[in-house]
């Protein structure tokens, strides 16, 4: 039996004395597009920060492709791609240099052509020599996603990655991600407020309320909702107990 792409066991995390996440356990298998939903401030970004090692959890364990993030961080991070927030990108490096740093950090000899093909589709190639601080929000968002895909990682983690993208680019990206995780047998963990992604692309979804996983939808449940043509908004409201 192959190990899951992402395994989170009894995760606990917070800032100082404030606990944000309590007893979170979840697993992402190969081919999963997992959407994390929840109101503002519920802990979605904190959970992603723990998964990508930007925040050290106070308890629990995270394994990526069978490697523990605490005991074998190098091996775990080799299989991880994270689309950071656009404001974290270094303003005084060019887009090409950002790609070079990410590829260099992953010990790659060259970047695959598929990434440049995606950059072309996203109309990003013209900005490769531009400094990041001259790029618009949407263009920076495209760069952040491209950086997440460097090295063809098994686990892709994206936080509100479609914010600021024009509809055409967002559609290109969604289709590309769907095809990539199926071809690579990888997994995608996406935190978002866009319910259309759950309705059309996600395999599984969960809603996080006050730092706890309140409800999760399996692949079959989502497929049933799609087959019935039901609105996911209503299902979400029902799950979180809103009228």
């Amino acid at each position: 039996m192959t190990s899951p792409i992402l395994e989170i066991r009894e995760l606990r995390a917070g800032y100082g004395v404030r606990t944000v996440l309590e007893n979170i356990s979840m697993t992402l298998a190969a081919g999963d597009w997992f959407v994390l939903l929840g109101p503002n401030g519920c802990g979605k970004s904190t959970l992603l920060d723990c998964v990508v090692s930007r925040l050290i959890p106070s308890g629990g364990e995270i394994c990526i492709a069978g490697h523990s993030l605490s005991t074998a961080p190098y091996e775990a991070k080799l299989q991880l791609g994270y689309g950071c927030a656009p404001d974290v990108l270094p303003g005084l490096l060019t887009s090409r240099q950002c790609l070079e740093v990410h590829a260099g950090a992953k010990g790659m000899a060259a970047i695959g052509d598929d990434l440049f093909a995606l950059a072309d589709e996203l109309k990003f190639t013209a900005y490769l020599e531009s400094f990041v601080d001259t790029l618009s929000l949407g263009t920076r968002q495209k760069l952040a996603v491209l950086l997440a895909l460097v090295g063809d990682p098994q686990l892709i983690v994206l936080d509100e990655a479609f914010n600021g993208l024009d509809p055409a680019s967002a559609l290109v990206l969604k289709r590309h991600l769907r095809a990539r995780i199926e071809r690579r047998r990888g997994a995608l963990l996406l935190a978002t407020h866009s319910l259309d992604i759950v309705e059309h692309y996600a395999d599984r979804a969960a809603v996080l309320i006050d730092g706890r996983l309140k409800h999760a939808w399996s692949k079959d449940e989502l497929q049933r909702l799609r087959a019935r043509g039901d609105d996911f908004e209503a299902a979400l409201a029902e799950a979180i107990g809103e009228p």
């Binding site: 990508v52 090692s53 930007r54 050290i56 605490s70 961080p73 190098y74 091996e75 775990a76 991070k77 080799l78 991880l80 791609g81 994270y82 950071c84 974290v88 990108l89 270094p90 303003g91 005084l92 490096l93 060019t94 090409r96 240099q97 950002c98 790609l99 070079e100 740093v101 990410h102 590829a103 260099g104 950090a105 992953k106 010990g107 790659m108 000899a109 060259a110 970047i111 052509d113 440049f116 020599e129 400094f131 601080d133 001259t134 983690v157």
Partner: protein, 331 residues
């Protein structure tokens, strides 16, 4: 209601935990100043006499400085208010007028208050020391405060300076635009360029020209142009080193967050930042040695000072990088 003052007051209340520390710091500074003045009262008295004798000149200078600074502050604050989260809040015309006046003239009012406190403190010291000139601090304070107050009124006559909108930092970064048709060349080398570019981005022409003014003012009368050029070059080199040191700290902190999810060893990141920075520091040390030679300092001393600057610079940058990137779980 004055929304900007109300918001500022709420922010002040949110930071009330620091009030005691601030009060202690201010009291300590004031106490130190009074103690220094008491200890050096004999040598300070001629300066006080000079200031009192040339009170009118001091008042005129204070008025000019106050007028220029308040005019600039007014322009900045108005531009800031137009973009602020409170811009759309309805405010009565009269309230908006006095609120703007209070905000724009705040530094001048604070300066008058500080001058008053210092005047009273100096007068008390002179009374305790049984000096007849105890009235001099009040006279100087009156001249300066009058000048500042006149400057506030005069600021309305100064043409409004244009609000400065700073362009992206990369505008000032020397960068050769290369069109590489091939793929990227994976490497951490670009990290080394980051602090150097940050240094150029911070050293914008306007900032450099302003930093030059006090250096030119400090030159003694009769300084020749070539000597002045050497001094400016020396200050420029030292300023660049200081900026580079700050830029390394800034860039490595930012990189720590950006590179956290990547499988890159800390040593590799530190090396990528350190080597180009050290190359620039060593070059600056060499320039410093050359400038000292031009000033007729001996070869030996020039080389020693240049090497010392380079060594201290490299060590402090290395220590800062190890401190920032060398601990924690991620690079």
């Amino acid at each position: 209601m004055a929304p900007r003052l109300a918001a500022a007051n709420l922010i002040r209340l949110n930071r009330r935990t620091h009030l005691l520390a601030r009060a202690v710091a201010v009291s300590f500074c004031l106490g130190t100043l009074i103690a220094l003045f008491y200890a050096e009262r004999d040598s300070a008295l001629p300066a006080l006499r000079w200031l009192r004798l040339h009170g009118l000149l001091c008042a005129v200078l204070a008025a000019i400085a106050s007028a220029l600074l308040i005019a600039r502050r007014r322009s900045l604050k108005r531009a800031e208010y137009a973009r602020s989260w409170l811009a759309a809040v309805p405010v009565k015309v009269s309230a908006a007028r006095w609120e703007s006046l209070a905000i724009e003239t705040l530094p001048a009012i604070a300066a008058i208050v500080v001058l008053g406190v210092l005047g009273v403190a100096c007068a008390l010291v002179l009374v305790l020391a049984k000096r007849a000139e105890f009235f001099a601090p009040f006279a100087i304070e009156a001249y300066l405060s009058g000048g500042i107050a006149a400057g506030i009124i005069g600021s309305y006559l100064v043409p409004q300076p244009k609000p400065a909108i700073l362009p992206p930092g990369s505008r000032y970064v020397p960068h050769q635009k290369v069109s590489r048709a091939g793929g990227v060349r994976p490497s951490l080398r670009a990290l080394g360029a980051w602090p150097i570019r940050q240094m150029f981005a911070w050293a914008q022409p306007k900032i450099v020209s302003r930093a030059l003014i006090p250096i030119l003012v400090m030159m003694p009368m009769g300084t020749t142009a070539d000597a002045a050029m050497v001094v400016i070059a020396m200050f420029g080199t030292m300023g660049a080193l200081l900026l580079l040191w700050s830029a390394v700290i800034f860039a490595s902190r930012a990189a720590r967050s950006w590179l956290a999810p990547l499988p890159v060893p800390r040593g590799a990141v530190i090396r990528a930042f350190l080597l180009p920075a050290c190359a620039v520091i060593v070059a600056a040390g060499a320039i410093e040695a050359l400038l000292l030679l031009v000033f007729n300092v001996s070869y030996r001393t020039s080389a020693q000072l240049g090497a010392c600057t380079a060594l201290i610079g490299c060590l402090t940058v290395g220590a800062a990088l190890v401190w920032i990137l060398g601990h924690g779980r991620t690079p």
